[in-house]
């Protein structure tokens, strides 16, 4: 098969499950966690990868069914043409047999006009937040340590966007995730055993999304 052809078929059979473990850590001990992760994770480039994202959530209310949310996320520091990442994340299946939470997952990269497009389709603005922190990789796993902050005031373009941010809590959100294709116990075990190594600092767990 030709390479481009392979590419198409690869994308058709796109993996659509996300395995997640979540937790949080106080701001003043976050440096310890980061140091630990830096030691444990793959060190490809030799420096810690940072990110600064803005996520906007749109919700569509469907009469007679539960509403659907789509998340649009882009990196603020990815200039001049940021990649807009559109995600659908279902609520987690809290299966007792799984050691991690598993949720259905669809994603694709889209052009900048996604926000207007979604509104055209009837999606309504729900909420938005900023996430800033570090990414660590360990094999197929991705661990993000992020500070979540909200927008102090919406729809005010005159202010410096950085100044408008207000942190949610004085702790950081830690998420370990892996995108796989089907239910696979090995993945859960792999993630769980890695999270064990962070145990005294932070305990990552599957968390009920209904908050």
């Amino acid at each position: 098969m030709e390479p481009a052809q392979i590419l198409i078929t690869q994308n058709r059979a796109f993996p659509s499950l996300e395995y997640v473990l979540q937790g949080s850590i106080q701001d003043d001990s976050v440096h310890l966690l980061k140091a630990r992760l830096q030691g444990l994770c793959d060190n490809i480039t030799g420096e810690v990868e940072q990110f600064d994202d803005h996520e906007i959530v749109y919700t569509l209310r469907i009469p007679g069914a539960s509403s659907v949310s789509l998340r649009v996320r882009y990196a603020i520091d990815d200039i001049p043409n940021p990649i807009y990442h559109l995600r659908y994340v279902a609520s987690a299946e809290l299966d007792k047999s799984q050691s991690v939470s598993v949720r259905q997952f669809h994603d694709c990269c889209v052009t900048k006009n996604i926000q207007i497009f979604l509104q055209d389709l009837g999606f309504a603005y729900d909420h938005e937040f900023f996430a800033k922190g570090d990414i660590f990789r360990k094999g197929r796993m991705k661990i993000t340590v992020a500070k979540i902050s909200t927008l102090a005031e919406r729809n005010r373009s005159d202010m410096n966007p950085m100044a408008m941010r207000r942190p949610f809590t004085n702790s950081c959100f830690v998420e370990m995730s892996l995108i796989g294709s089907m239910h696979d116990d090995k993945v859960g075990d792999e993630m769980k055993s890695f999270s064990e190594q962070l145990k005294p600092l932070i305990s990552l767990d599957k968390i009920d999304q209904k908050r």
Binding site: L7, S29, I44, F51, Y74, I83, D107, C108, C109, R137
Partner: protein
């Protein structure tokens, strides 16, 4: 001095306040708990809170507790610091108490409030008795407190000394397995296996992105007592395959056995190959890792060799890869054990043109590129993107890349292909420059070759200028040449000629050009002196590369002799003269072949030896000759 040691031992930093017992590489040490607890017990026995004079100490001990509670950067550092602080404080306390005991400078008085209370409630006699009793009691309590303080100081001192011992060992004074192990841990990732009391480390490049499936663990053990030396109390056990030293040798040869390049690499920073005497564990490990690197590189090359569908596929032998990089040049990459490597053949002159450091750097860069490709490393912006997708692939959908663009994303050049391309170019470039160099030295005109600084490893640009020294105003030709991989392009005037693989063609081309140039300068010079070109054969085309011959007949209106000039393969200007018949014209009329000046047929020319004329170059001699003719004519 506590600071640089901070990385030696890894104990969970934030757990430090609650460490009751820690194991220093398997040996349980209770010191932390027992000492600090013991110390606080002693302090509490002293009931320091009762005494105002000791407030300072109490405060500082509170501070100390706070410091413990806060948790600090590292166990050794803080613990050491705490010990030192406590020791100083207890020593100071002990000194104060000694001074008080000698009753010279200080007087002990009971708590003022208690005394007042007692004084108020009793009569004067009782009061006196009470004071004395009080003083007695105070004295007794002070004695006990003094001993307690001394005990505390002793405990601190002993632990301080113990720690000093450990610290001193790490600087090489004493043999200590743990100290050396912690030293080793600063450079290698070593993990203690849970149940077996083994220390295992990994030599592979897996954390950097290598997928090489090969077991490369080493084990650290205590050295046998008889083998233990002053500096070495540690032993490393590495797999047998990695104990050998290997050398990567690269040779480029022509079919006729001419060596174009012969170089080797051991991946040693200082290229000492045979330094086998050094048996320290560090150099053993480093060497093993180099072996791993070379083995991985070589196996990668072997794998790629089978994928290459060149005209002639590279052949993989037991420990060498052979591939034809040009039709007559073969490159051999072989992995040799140090014992197989014959150092005597590697004398200076065969290491032609290869900078070993550069080679190693290039190999490292190549393998690293491969590692990054394994991971498809690209920055995650935003962070929710999936891992393992190449950056270009990520934007391909949004930017609506077409079929061909997508295809080019997934195309990757393998390491071996890169090496072949590079060496191909290097060989072609070296040959072309060599040809130009030879030409420049062997012809008596001035030929300058400039290689552009913008040249890269697979493309070289440059210019060739040819002038005759002293006559540079007369004629000046220049060429641009461009070598892309193994394709040569030469631009002159408005032509662009491509040569592929044929160095000889390039050589012919330049010989032709030089001949033409010499011929043209000679003609131009003659014209300046009033000669006119009656007939000439100029075939300066590439089409007739095989035959190079330029010739012309020069006439002058005042001189009854014709001059014939000719230039051939040998690039020597030949000059001949003949008397011009007065009733001319018929020379041109009766035979077309007259135009073709040569000794073989037609009209007889008398050759002139230009060496009879003085001058530094052929052109100058020629100038002397034609001006000589004019001069003769004038005199006549």
């Amino acid at each position: 001095m506590a600071e640089p040691l901070s990385t030696n031992v890894t104990i969970e930093p934030c757990l430090e306040p609650s460490v009751y017992e820690y194991s220093l590489d398997g040996e349980k040490v209770k010191s932390t708990q027992s000492m600090s607890d013991h110390f606080t017990k002693i302090l509490s026995r002293m009931e320091l809170n009762d005494l105002r004079s000791e407030d300072a100490v109490v405060e500082s001990s509170n501070e100390e507790e706070r410091r413990i509670a806060n948790g600090a950067k590292n166990t050794f550092g803080t613990f050491f610091e705490q010990m030192r602080q406590a020791n100083i404080e207890v020593c100071a306390l002990y000194d104060i108490l000694s001074l008080v005991m000698s009753r010279r400078y200080f007087n002990l008085s009971a708590n003022a409030a208690d005394m007042d209370e007692n004084l108020n409630t009793a009569n004067p006699r009782q009061r006196e008795l009470l004071t004395r009793q009080n003083q007695d009691i105070l004295r007794k309590s002070w004695v006990s407190k003094r001993t307690s303080a001394r005990q505390a100081a002793d405990v601190l001192l002993s632990s301080y000394e113990r720690f000093m011992k450990i610290i001193n060992t790490t600087s090489g004074n004493l043999e200590n397995f743990h100290a050396q192990l912690s030293n080793l841990r600063q450079r290698w990732k070593i993990r203690k296996q849970a149940n077996t009391n083994k220390y295992l480390g990994d030599l592979s490049f897996r954390s950097a992105g290598s997928f090489y499936p090969y077991k490369m663990q080493f084990e650290v053990t205590k050295a046998d007592s008889h083998k233990r030396t002053h500096t070495n109390s540690i032993d490393v056990i590495i797999p047998e395959e990695l104990q050998v030293r290997v050398i990567l040798k690269i040779e480029i040869e022509t079919k006729d056995g001419e060596v174009l390049l012969r170089t080797y690499s051991t991946m040693m920073a200082n290229d000492t190959i045979m330094n086998t005497n050094d048996n320290s564990y560090d150099s053993i490990l480093e060497n093993a890792q180099r072996t791993v690197f070379l083995k991985e590189l070589f196996s990668q090359l072997c794998r790629e060799a089978s994928d290459i569908t060149n005209i002639i596929q590279p052949a993989v032998m037991r420990n060498s890869i052979q591939c034809w990089i040009l039709s007559d040049v073969i490159m051999t990459i072989s992995l040799l054990r140090a014992s197989e490597f014959d150092a005597s053949t590697q004398n200076e002159q065969t290491l032609c043109g290869a900078n070993i450091g550069l080679l190693e750097y290039a190999l490292c860069a190549l393998l690293r590129q491969q590692f990054l490709r394994n991971f498809h490393y690209s920055q995650l912006k935003p962070s929710t993107l999936m891992l393992g997708v190449p950056a270009l692939r990520r934007i391909a959908g949004v930017n609506a890349f077409n079929y061909n663009q997508l295809k080019s994303i997934s195309e990757n050049k393998s390491i071996l292909q890169t090496i072949i391309d590079l060496s191909q170019h290097q060989v072609v470039r070296a040959r072309i420059l060599n040809v130009l160099d030879n030409l420049a030295t062997n012809c008596d005109i001035n030929m300058t070759v400039n290689v552009s600084a913008f040249s890269s490893t697979t493309s070289t640009f440059g210019r060739v200028h040819i002038i005759v020294p002293g006559y540079d105003l007369l004629c000046r030709w220049s060429y641009m040449f461009q070598i892309e991989e193994c394709q040569v392009k030469i631009q002159y005037k408005s032509h662009l000629i491509e040569f592929q693989h044929h160095i000889e063609e390039v050589q012919r081309f330049f010989i032709n050009q030089i001949a033409c140039f010499k011929f043209t300068t000679a003609c131009t010079l003659a014209k300046i002196f009033g000669w006119s070109i009656v007939g000439s054969t100029m075939a300066p085309t590439v089409g007739r590369l095989t035959e190079i011959q330029f010739s012309a007949q020069l006439d002058h209106s005042n001189i009854p002799t014709s001059v014939g000039i000719r230039i051939g393969d040998d690039l020597q200007l030949q000059v001949a003269v003949r008397k011009r018949r007065e009733q001319n014209d018929d020379t041109l009329m009766d035979d077309g072949s007259n135009e073709r000046i040569g000794p073989s047929k037609g009209i007889k020319y008398d050759p002139i030896n230009l060496d009879d004329y003085c001058g530094t170059s052929t052109l100058q001699k020629f100038e002397m000759f034609i001006s000589g003719l004019l001069h003769q004519e004038k005199q006549q």
